[in-house]
């Protein structure tokens, strides 16, 4: 599904990612953990095609295509979805209008017919149940006046409606209380399938109590310093990141 090879990324003059390699197979769930400032969001943004990052070397292949050469909207249309750490507000544009425009842009790209209003509403309502959202949120402006938890749930709703093949969740768990965390996790679990892959970026082990990953990677100082299975997350909870960061320091 996704193969990242020795990826080096700069922001302005600073090297942030210093050689990331990662393989994500179809249906797999990978957790990427690490201390603040280690480059987790940078990796997520580069994969989604955000401006302002320079890839100095390395590559990323997505379904056999050069991911880094595609404009961001094409990546999205090809099934790459990013749930943002800080979802933006778009005053004046209703949630439902954004969703409909997005769904139809993606369907058009895939040579499918645009959904009419009835079919679309049906689709959205069924997905709203997944994240326990009230219908009124559809008619409010995108994220405007939403609480932190509502914004994150809204991201998961968009993911559910757009049905991506590769979903990258950037700290979707942070700032959520335990009930919201459960709702979000249930939503993600419901979307797990053999041909949909996830990259869960998180700072805390807590999320992984709810969503069981197949692999856990620790990102520190712009490198993956350790990879393992779900048990690595528990070890991190006991020992913190300190021992791994020293490890990273020694390696550079």
């Amino acid at each position: 599904m996704l193969a990242i090879e020795s990826l080096h990324v700069r922001v302005e003059d600073k090297e942030i990612l210093k050689g990331i390699s990662l393989n994500v197979g179809a249906g797999e769930v990978h957790a990427i953990m690490g201390p603040n400032g280690s480059g987790k969001s940078t990796l997520a943004h580069v994969l989604a095609g955000r401006d302002g990052y320079t890839v100095t070397s390395g590559m990323a292949t997505y379904n056999h295509a050069n991911l880094l050469a595609m404009p961001p909207e094409e990546r999205a249309r090809e099934g790459v979805f990013l749930a943002f750490q800080y979802p933006v507000e778009i005053p004046g544009v209703s949630n439902i209008y954004l969703l409909k425009t997005a769904v139809n842009a993606i369907r058009k790209h895939r040579a499918l017919e645009e959904l009419d209003a009835m079919d679309f509403i049906g689709l959205v309502k069924s997905k709203m149940k997944l994240v326990d959202m009230d219908e009124q949120f559809l008619y409010r402006a995108v994220n405007e006046g939403f609480s932190g938890g509502e914004k994150k749930r809204n991201e998961i709703l968009q993911m559910a409606v757009l049905e991506p093949r590769l979903a990258i969740l950037d700290e979707t768990d942070s700032g959520l209380d335990i009930d919201a965390l459960r709702v979000v996790s249930d939503g993600v679990n419901a979307l797990r399938s053999k041909d949909r892959s996830f990259i869960l970026v998180t700072h805390y082990q807590r999320l992984l109590d709810y969503i069981k990953p197949d692999f856990v990677h620790v990102l520190a100082g712009g490198r993956i310093v350790k990879s393992g299975d779900a048990s690595l997350a528990l070890e991190l909870e006991d020992r913190g990141y300190g021992w791994l960061e020293q490890h990273a320091g020694a390696a550079s």
Binding site: P72, E73, A76, I90, P91, A102, A105
Partner: protein, 482 residues
């Protein structure tokens, strides 16, 4: 520059699609302005004496006035002696009596602009008066309107056929001494539309005037006068374009609306004069005085404008709420891009009791453009229980443009309630990336955000014009994202 700002610039940079010139033989006055020019103009139009006198009074007053300096717009002084004050397509047949007699080249011009005048393809349900430079060249659906008793004709014709109405109402809302450009217009106005809706009549169709500036070095000074008698109603639309030229051209119009008891006038404008090129060369100077008088009790005047064109726009459609319980509304979208400047807004003058006004202004700036909202809400001593609500929002696209808001309030009646809300927002790279990440292109994202921003105003426009306005907004913001 980031990819998204590049795209913004690209979006903004798209061409003006109405910029062609029609090559016609024209009857044009040499440049220059003096009393003889005004006499010649008046004679050309075979005007009654009262009108010539009025023009001359306006001219003499204008000579004593100075071009206003207070607006937030900048332009070199205009040399009024370099402008020609009359240009009309040369009439080989002594004036068009019916559409069959209109020069086919003119019909073709309007067709290119999307305004079919020919009988068989007229816009369904909309009567059109087409003004080409200084004269009205065609008015459609005259017969059908006459059956209802509605008068819809060029003002030059109204002067001939209904001089009493013209004499009674002309200048009664905007006196010639009102301001510099109104005085100039009163002295030299060439043509425009005249509408009279008799008592109790609901005008059976939308009325519309389409203004086209074609000739070079001419000014367009049209004058529109709309009178709605007791219990009548009318919806009127105005559209405008001009060829692309490097020189600036002056457009100084006056529009007067009079609503008597229980009458309603809805006046919508889609203004798309040539805005100048991306370096700020050329374009129309649009200095317009538009004012409606809610003279009767329970009357209502509503202005809706979508302003995307002109190099400089200076325009404040206003309502004088004279009658008790009268209502004034102003809904505006003003878009400026590249080097365009717009200083626009409204005045709501509350005179009668229980008068209400609503102002919704949406300003969008992109490129290096400046967009100013200037509004006055004035409540006079006797206007008990007057109410105003003003909402004034600005949207910035990119970071080189500006938005300015100047709300003025003068309240002399303690029971009045005047509310003002304002906001400024920006289309950020974060918003654009977010939309792109959901599969939506940057262009579509900008137009989605802008349309969302303007929704409250667009819903006030008659249907087909709402569609046109949305499309126009898309065109004028093309090249604005990256």
């Amino acid at each position: 520059m980031s990819a998204s700002s590049r795209e913004i610039e690209k979006l903004i940079g798209q061409g003006y699609k109405q910029g062609f010139v029609t090559d016609l033989e024209a009857d044009t006055f040499p440049p220059g302005l003096n009393e003889d020019v005004i006499r010649a103009l008046s004679a050309k139009k075979n005007e009654p004496g009262f009108l010539l006198e009025w023009r001359l009074k306006a001219y003499r007053h204008w000579l004593s006035m100075k071009s206003p300096q207070w607006a937030f717009v900048h332009f070199p002084p205009i040399d009024y002696q370099e402008i020609s004050y009359y240009s009309a397509p040369k009439d080989k047949r002594g004036g068009p009596k019916s559409l069959d007699e209109v020069d086919p080249q003119l019909i073709e011009t309007y067709k290119k602009l999307g305004i079919p005048l020919a009988e068989q393809e007229k816009l369904a349900g909309v009567a059109v008066d087409a003004v080409f430079d200084s004269v009205s060249v065609a008015t459609t659906f005259k017969g059908k309107l006459a059956e209802a008793g509605v008068i819809f004709c060029p003002i030059s014709e109204a002067v001939q056929c209904h001089p009493d109405l013209v004499q009674q109402y002309l200048g009664s809302v905007v006196p010639y001494a009102d301001n510099f450009f109104a005085a100039l217009n009163s002295a030299v106005f060439s043509d425009g539309s005249f509408v009279y809706i008799p008592k109790g009549v609901r005008c059976p169709m939308e009325l519309s005037t389409y203004f086209r500036i074609n000739a070079a070095n001419t000014g367009q000074f049209e004058r529109t006068l709309i009178i709605a008698e007791e219990k009548s109603s009318v919806s009127y639309l105005e559209g405008c374009t001009a060829p692309m030229r490097d020189e600036n051209q002056l457009h100084a119009a006056v529009v007067e609306l009079i609503a008597l008891d229980d009458a309603r006038i809805k006046y919508s404008t889609v203004q798309n004069w040539y805005p100048g090129d991306e370096n700020g060369v050329g374009g129309i100077y649009n200095f317009v005085t538009k004012r409606g008088d809610c003279r009767g009790v329970n009357s209502k005047i509503s202005w809706t404008q979508v302003e995307t064109g002109s190099a400089i726009t200076w325009k404040y459609p206003s309502c004088v709420l004279t009658g008790d319980n009268s209502v004034g509304e102003f809904y505006s979208v003003a878009v400026t891009n590249h080097f365009q400047q717009a200083d626009t807004g409204t005045k709501m003058i509350h005179i009668g009791k229980n008068t209400r006004s609503t102002i919704v202004s949406k300003g969008i700036s992109a490129g290096r453009a400046h967009n100013t909202y200037r509004g006055l809400v004035k409540v006079l001593k006797n206007a008990e229980n007057a109410r105003n609500h003003t909402q004034c929002d600005s949207l910035l696209v990119g970071d080189k443009c500006g938005a300015h808001t100047f709300p003025y309030m003068e309240v002399k009646q303690p029971s009045a309630r005047v509310e003002h809300e304002a906001s400024t927002s920006k289309i950020s790279e974060d918003q654009l990336f977010f939309c792109q990440q959901r599969g939506i292109s940057a262009e579509d994202a900008v137009s989605m955000i802008v349309n969302g921003f303007c929704k409250e105003v667009f819903k006030e426009l008659p249907m087909e014009f709402a569609v046109e306005a949305q499309a126009l907004l898309g065109i004028s913001l093309e090249g604005s994202v990256g």
